[in-house]
């Protein structure tokens, strides 16, 4: 019995060491740092308690970043999940060129987000960009989508949805292919309409995939900010400021590491609550086989 214990520990040891060194210890260290002030060359760090958190409550850019992140998540999560399901249902049936179609849907996923952002920068470019050229055909005036505060955040959201939907589609496609053919035939004999079949058979059976995909979508909504670096840098006037980008700015451009630690703790707490909540809430409606 004891030997098995030791074996078990030895087996997980390599993974455990890396997880500890690169995830858990930094997380705890970040929590500790968030209660101390930022050391400067001429002024050492000192314990300040909840000072960094108090400052956060009074920080208008933090408030803006929180609101923006919420809007960004509220747009990108349902849109990318819904779009990916629609695309998966579309390319699930056999038709000429289905392979090409699937590949086309999947292509955005294999491109690095930085490259994608650079491509979209030229789609959005006022005057000669793709979107403006199309608008020009209809006699519409030029529009600077990422250069005005009203639309910058939505322009970024569109890029994220475009990038993510293809990736989620692959999971849905795999899930759809596991739905047994006899169910389809039985439903056809009963005279079941396609929509009823989807609602009563397909949707419940792909629920585990939906849970997986939506957890990923939520995490990505807070994690994918690479395109912000390339496209707007949080501007104009913080109109597209997202929480993670703000953490980067505070931590590695302003070198205010203590405040950045406090912001990071907020992000970790949000992600933990959302992630755990999703598992519990969805658990009752997900049927694993």
């Amino acid at each position: 019995m004891r030997r098995e214990w030791i074996h078990g520990w030895l087996l997980i040891l390599p993974a455990f060491v890396f997880l500890l060194a690169f995830t858990h210890i930094p997380a705890v260290q970040t929590l500790i740092d968030s209660f101390w002030s930022t050391p400067r060359g001429r002024r050492p760090t000192q314990f300040v308690g909840f000072e960094n958190y108090k400052r956060m409550m009074a920080d208008p850019i933090f408030a803006k970043a929180m609101v923006n992140s919420a809007i960004y998540a509220a747009i990108t999560i349902p849109a990318s999940v819904g779009l990916s399901l629609a695309m998966a249902l579309f390319v699930h049936r056999p038709f000429r060129g289905v392979g090409l179609m699937r590949m086309a849907y999947f292509t955005p996923t294999v491109l690095p987000l930085i490259a994608v952002a650079n491509i979209w920068l030229f789609f959005y470019a006022p005057g000669f960009g793709l979107i403006d050229q199309v608008r020009g055909l209809f006699g519409l005036p030029s529009v600077n989508l990422i250069g005005q505060p009203e639309t910058a955040l939505y322009a970024l959201s569109a890029v994220t949805v475009w990038k993510e939907a293809g990736f989620f589609m692959i999971f849905y496609l795999a899930a759809l292919q596991t739905i047994p053919q006899p169910l389809r035939e039985a439903a056809a004999i009963e005279g079941c309409r396609p929509w009823t079949f989807f609602r009563r058979v397909t949707w419940p059976l792909i629920m585990p995939t939906t849970l997986f995909v939506s957890v990923n979508a939520v995490v990505n909504a807070f994690r994918m900010v690479d395109h912000v670096f390339v496209m707007t840098r949080g501007g104009p006037d913080n109109a597209s400021q997202l929480l993670l980008y703000y953490i980067y700015e505070v931590g590695f451009r302003f070198w205010d590491t203590a405040y950045a630690s406090a912001l990071t703790i907020v992000l970790v707490v949000i992600l933990s609550i959302v992630g755990i909540g999703q598992f519990f809430a969805a658990d009752r409606r997900v049927h694993y086989r």
Binding site: R40, G127, G139, S142, I146, G235, F254, W255, D256
Partner: protein, 424 residues
């Protein structure tokens, strides 16, 4: 001889045969423009090592300017700083505040101080000296200039050889250069001043042209809401709002040369770092001129300086200074300017024969140099990135019409004062 002894003897021989390097230097450098600066830096260090076999320099490419500063600070925190780096001249106060850099004065003679440091253009030294010491040596420095499309000027009935010299002229010519199609949509704007990411840089030039400056020499005070500054922002906002000669909203830096090549804008403001790019890609004749000012010509400087990092022994830093001196000498610095488009930072470089030949062939290259007499320091203060970000957000708010120029700059001044209070 046993195998083991044989191995040891061979190892000893190899060790003796390899020339013993007295000094190893690490040198971090960023690449911020197109072209081949990375190869040029490598060639530069190779040439130096060939002439000085007792010094070994590892030139390490460290990404953008911001990445380079980040990596240098991280390396210093880890106890292993490089001896030498190139980073933004405006990061000087960040490095001083972190007690990370050593002044060059400690490693040079009085004669060097007069002849070597004294030989740099004063406008480049503004972002390199404070507290009576020289903390940075100008190397990859730039300044923005006006590029104009001669074909578009001729088509609008303007003299294609004559650029606007004042702001009023620029607006007036811009109106003639702004073309609309049958639907009333603009097909060509008169002027394009990019504002994404760091609008404060070009705006510093407009303020200088209006007779204002943005910060004191100690990096402890900023002057964001002076009448000169507010007037400069009002003029910039008016370009798209009332004059109708510039596209509205935040305009991308990266797309600016393309906007010019595509004929979407007849005049652009951008860095001399784009000179080689425009020369290679513009499908029409173009001219390069000073930035037109509201009252007088004015421009900011920009780009990177050499810095010496603390936490290294004196012999190493001395060797690093020696390399910097060599790299800024006319022969080396001239090659650097020709390869990159950066403005050579000393008068004696421009007087060398090879630079004279270069300017004769490509007179636009000298415009940036001649503009230096009107140039002012780029905004640089303690907590520089944060203060600059406050200003950038304020400028963006005004450009996009969220706030009036005065409101935006008043609140930026208040926020910056709150941060800088600790340093006064």
């Amino acid at each position: 001889m046993t195998l083991r002894q044989h191995f040891l003897a061979t190892a000893a021989l190899v060790a003796l045969a390899t020339p013993a390097f007295a000094i190893d230097l690490e040198f971090y450098f960023p690449v911020a423009v197109g072209g081949k600066p990375a190869e040029t830096v490598q060639a530069l260090t190779d040439a130096y090592m060939a002439a000085n076999p007792d010094v070994k320099i590892s030139a390490i490419y460290t990404g953008s300017y911001a990445d380079t500063t980040t990596k240098a600070i991280t390396a210093a925190q880890g106890g292993n700083p490089p001896q030498l780096l190139i980073s933004l001249s405006t990061d000087m106060y960040t490095f001083i505040d972190g007690d990370l850099i050593a002044p060059f004065d400690d490693f040079i003679t009085a004669e060097d101080r007069a002849n070597w440091i004294g030989g740099f253009y004063p406008s480049f030294l503004m972002n390199s000296q404070t507290e009576g010491k020289t903390w940075g040596i100008p190397f990859q420095r730039s300044t923005p200039v006006l590029y104009w499309n001669k074909a578009a000027f001729a088509a609008a009935g303007l003299d294609p050889e004559k650029a606007p010299t004042t702001w009023a002229e620029m607006v007036e010519m811009g109106k003639k250069l702004t073309l609309k199609d049958a639907n009333g949509n603009v097909t060509q704007y008169g002027v394009h001043i990019p504002s994404s990411g760091f609008p404060s840089w070009l705006w510093t030039g407009i303020v200088a042209g209006n007779g204002g400056i943005l910060a004191n020499d100690n990096g402890t005070e900023v002057y964001f809401n002076t009448p000169e500054a507010i007037g400069a922002l009002e003029a910039m906002v008016a370009l798209s709002k009332t004059d109708g000669v510039m596209a509205p909203g935040i305009l991308e830096w990266g797309g600016t040369p393309k906007t010019f090549f595509e004929g979407q804008a007849a005049m652009i403001w951008t860095t001399t770092g784009n000179l080689t790019n425009v020369r290679a890609n513009a499908p029409f004749d173009f001219g390069v001129g000073f930035l037109p000012g509201l009252k007088q010509p004015g421009a900011p400087t920009g780009g990177g300086n050499f810095y010496l990092m603390k936490g290294n022994n004196e012999a190493e830093l001395k060797a690093a200074v020696d390399f910097v001196k060599w790299a800024t000498a006319p022969a080396q610095a001239g090659d650097w300017t020709k390869a990159t488009g950066y403005v050579a930072p000393r008068a004696d470089i421009w007087e060398s024969d090879s630079m004279k030949a270069y300017v004769a062939d490509f007179p636009q290259a000298a415009v940036a140099r001649d503009q230096l007499q009107f140039a002012v320091a780029e905004l640089s203060t303690f907590e520089g990135p944060k203060v600059t970000q406050i200003l950038n957000s304020a400028l963006e708010a005004a450009i996009t019409g969220q706030k009036t120029p005065k409101e935006a700059l008043d609140s930026a001044q208040a926020d910056a004062d709150a941060i800088l209070k600790a340093y006064r």
